[in-house]
Symmetry: C2
Subunit: 410 residues, 2 copies
DNA sequence: CACAGTTGATTGCAGGTCGCAAGCAAAACT
DNA sequence: AGTTTTGCTTGCGACCTGCAATCAACTGTG
C-alpha cells in the first residue's frame, strides 16, 4: 500500500525517542537532561539512558554546569562542537559559497568564489570539488553535504530547470555528480528560498509560534517557501514556491515561463531597474541615472529619492498583491520578506503592509504578522545545514517524527 | 517548548500501533490480519493481539472468510457495520443535510432540509438539533458529530466570517452550541471544500499516489483545499483555501472581500449567470434568455449552445489562470475540479487543461493530472465523516501518526 | 481418500525498553 | 554543619514486541 503507516517495534521505539530527544536538544539549544525530559514527556531516566550512547558516539557532549538554581546544578548538553561537521554549498548565478558547520550549527568557515561567466559547468564543478576535498581533508569527519540551488529546482529529480541566467548548468546533474564523487557522504539538495525559509523559521518563526509561515524571497527573482509546522512544503516535484511565476494580471505581458502577467515581471530586480532606468531622464529630483544599478537604488530609496520611492512603492504594491493571494490561499500567520528587497527597510515593509491590509479581510489580516527578514550572508547556507541535520539526526527523511501522545491503553 | 516532539512510552507504543493498524484497515477497506501485518510492517502476532480488544470493544469485526488462496482461508476484518455511528451535518446557504455513517463509511441515511430564508439561526439550530436528537435516539451509540460549513470558516475559532449570503448565522456560534447540547459526543468542524477534498483524496487521489492534491470547488463560490500526504492543509486559522479571493487582476474590480480582481468575480456562478443574462438578448443562436438559471446553462452548454460555450469557456480560462497560479505556488501532482462546475464535463475540462498547459512549464505540466471530480451528493458529508473518523480512531487530533521506520538500535 | 504442502491465525518464550521510585550528587538556605 | 532542594543515576517490575513453534483450514496429488 502506498501510504500505509508503519507500526513501531520495540526496537524502533528507542530510535524514535532518540530522534525526539535530539530534536528537542536542537530546538532548545544548550539544555539539561531534565529540560529534555520535560519537553519530550519522557522520563528523566529514559533521557539519561538515551543520551549515554550519543555521548559515546561523539554526537552530543556535556558543555558545563549551570549555576543559579536551588539544588544540584544541571549539566548542559549540546551537539558536539568539534569532530563532526556538515559542509554546505550554495550555488548562485555568478558565484558559489561553501561553508562548514559543526553539528551545533556554528558557522566555522565560509568562502565565496566567483563563477567564470564563460566557464563550463564541468569546470565549476571541478573548482567546487577541489574546495570540498580540502575541507573534508581538514575536518576529517563530514556527516553530510547540503546543497542549495537557485531557480526552479526539480528536487525530485534534482535537476534545475529554466535556469535562464546560467544556461551552462543545463544538462549537468550537479547532485548526482557530487554523490558519485563522495559516495560515503550523504548529499542533500534544496531550493535556496526553501533553505532560507527554514533558517528564518528556526531563528524567528518558531519563537513566535508560527504554524504557517510564508517566506518571500524578493530580489533578482521572486521565490517563496511555505513552512507548515516546521516543515517546508516542497510540492510533488519539490518545485513548490514559484511565487514569481504566479500571475497577477491574466491579460498581462507574456513571461518566459509561459504564463502571463507573472509577479516577477512586475517586481523582480530587473523589472525595477528597467522601470527606473527608463524614467531616469524624465523625472526631476532624482539622483538616479539611466544606468543605475541596484545598490544605487537602495541608497536612493533610503535617501527618499523621488524616482526610487515611486518605483519601489509600485513594486511594493504588486508584491503585496502576491502576498495577499498567498494569504488567502494558504492562510499563514507569519509572512517574512527576505533576500535583496529586505534592504529597502521598514518604510518598504509599511507600504506592503498597507496594501495587504487593504486587500485582506480584517479578521485574517489581524492574525498575520508581516516582517522583514533579519537576514545575513549565511541564511541560505544555514538552511542547507538545517536540512542536512534534520535528515541525518532528527526525524525520518524530510519529515520529522511528529508528536505522539502517550496514553493509557484501553 | 512550543513544538517539541513527544517521546513514546512503552504504553504509548501500543496506542500508536493500534492507530496504525486501524489506519491500515481504513485505507485498505476489508482485509485480513496478514495484510495489515504487511502494510504496517508489524508482526502478525502483534496484529492479532491488537485486533482482539478492538473486536471486544465493538470497533472492528470479522466479516467472513476469503476463499481462493492455497492454504488456510484468511478472515477479513472491517470496522463494525452496526452499533457505532458517526453523524454528519452539512450546512449550506439554503439548506442543511444530515447523514448517518457507520464506522465502515457506509452512508446509512441522508436527508436534506430547507432553511427558511427569513428564519433565524436559532430557529434553524432548533430544527437541526431535533433531527440529531432523533438520530441519536435511534442509533444509540454515536461516536462523533462532524459538521461541514461553507464559506470563509475560521476553524480556529469555529466561526463563519463573511457569510454574506446568510447573514443570520453571523454571531451565532454553531459549533459551541452543538458541543454544549451534546456534551458527551465529540463535535468536529470543517470547511466544506476541505471536506470534499478529503473525500476526493480517499476515493481517488490516494490510489493515484498523489502527494499533493489541489481540490478546486467551483460553483456558487470558488473554494479550494490542498491535501498534502493525505492531510488537509488548514492554515493558521483554518482559513486556507480561499482561492476565490485570490486576484488574477491587480487593477480589477473591487470585491466585497477588500481585494481587487478576485477569481470569484470572474468565475463564480453569479458572475457566469450575469454575463450570460446580459448578453442573452444580443447574441444570436442561443436558447438562453435574460433570466436563465444555472441548470439551463448546464443544459445549453451540453447542447453546445453558442452563448453558453463562449461564457463557460471564458470562465474556464480564468479558472485555469487560478489553477496555474496554484500549480506554480504549491506544485501539486493532482488537481481535481469539483462542485457544480464539474457538471460541465469533459469538454470544459479540456478547455481548462489547454489553458493550463499554455501557461505552465512543460516539465511541471507533465507531472500534474487535472481531472473532474466524480462527485455525488454526499461528497462533503463523507468528508466530514472521514474527518471525525480520523480524529477519533486514526492518529492524533488532526494529524495522523506518520510512518516511523523501525530500525536496529545503534 | 489419506497425506503432504501451503498459508493464515494463535500462543509460548525471550529480549528489550520504559516508568516509577529509591538512591546518589551537588548545590543553596538556615 | 545540617536540612532542603533539585538534577542525575540505578534497581526493579511491568509490559510490549518479534521470533518460532503450533494450530487451523484449505488445496493438490498419488
Amino acid at each position: 500500500m502506498k501510504l500505509a503507516q508503519k507500526g513501531l517495534s520495540i526496537e524502533g521505539i528507542q530510535g524514535h525517542n532518540r530522534r525526539a530527544i535530539l530534536a528537542a536538544l536542537h530546538d532548545m539549544g544548550e539544555c539539561s537532561r531534565k529540560e529534555i525530559s520535560v519537553a519530550t514527556g519522557l522520563d528523566q531516566a529514559t533521557v539519561t539512558r538515551a543520551i549515554a550512547p550519543l555521548i559515546d558516539n561523539g554526537i552530543v557532549e556535556e558543555v558545563g554546569l549551570v549555576r543559579g538554581g536551588r539544588g544540584r546544578r544541571s549539566i548542559n548538553l549540546a551537539f558536539v562542537g568539534s569532530g563532526r561537521y556538515i559542509l554546505c554549498l550554495r550555488l548562485q548565478r555568478r558565484s558559489f559559497s561553501i561553508a562548514a558547520f559543526n553539528l551545533r550549527g556554528d558557522l566555522l568557515e565560509t568562502n565565496e568564489f566567483p563563477i567564470a561567466r564563460d566557464g563550463s559547468a564541468k569546470q565549476t564543478f571541478k573548482e567546487i570539488s577541489e574546495i570540498l576535498d580540502r575541507q573534508i581533508g581538514n575536518l576529517k569527519q563530514v556527516d553530510g553535504i547540503g546543497v542549495a540551488v537557485p531557480g526552479p529546482f526539480l528536487e525530485r529529480d534534482e535537476r534545475v530547470i529554466l535556469m535562464t541566467e546560467s544556461p551552462q548548468w543545463q544538462g549537468f546533474d550537479l547532485i548526482p555528480e557530487l554523490r558519485s564523487r563522495y559516495p560515503d557522504i550523504p548529499v542533500h539538495s534544496t531550493h535556496d528560498a526553501k533553505a532560507a525559509a527554514l533558517t528564518e523559521w528556526r531563528h524567528h518563526g518558531r519563537a513566535l509560534g508560527a504554524k504557517v509561515m510564508l517566506y518571500v524571497s524578493a530580489g533578482q527573482g521572486i521565490g517563496s517557501a511555505l513552512v507548515v509546522d516546521g516543515h517546508v512544503h516542497r510540492g510533488a516535484q519539490g518545485l513548490a514556491g514559484e511565487l514569481g511565476h504566479t500571475s497577477i494580471s491574466v491579460d498581462g505581458e507574456q513571461c518566459k515561463c509561459g504564463n502571463r502577467g507573472c509577479l516577477e515581471l512586475f517586481t523582480s530586480r530587473i523589472a525595477l531597474l528597467r522601470a527606473i532606468r527608463e524614467r531616469a531622464g524624465d523625472v526631476s529630483g532624482t539622483t538616479l541615472t539611466s544606468d543605475a544599478n541596484f545598490s544605487q537604488v537602495l541608497d536612493a530609496y533610503a535617501a527618499e529619492d523621488r524616482l526610487a520611492s515611486e518605483e519601489v512603492h509600485r513594486v511594493a504594491r504588486y508584491l503585496a498583491q502576491g502576498i495577499t493571494n498567498c494569504i488567502n490561499f494558504v492562510n499563514p500567520d507569519l509572512v517574512v520578506i527576505g533576500d535583496e528587497y529586505a534592504g529597502f527597510g521598514q518604510n518598504f515593509l509599511e507600504q506592503i503592509k498597507t496594501h495587504v491590509r487593504a486587500t485582506v479581510l480584517p479578521s485574517i489580516y489581524d492574525a498575520v504578522d508581516i516582517e522583514l527578514s533579519q537576514q545575513s550572508e549565511d541564511t541560505v547556507l544555514r538552511g542547507a545545514f538545517l536540512d542536512v541535520l534534520a535528515q541525518t539526526y532528527l526525524g525520518s527523511p524530510r519529515a520529522e517524527p511528529e508528536a505522539v501522545v502517550a496514553e493509557a491503553s484501553g
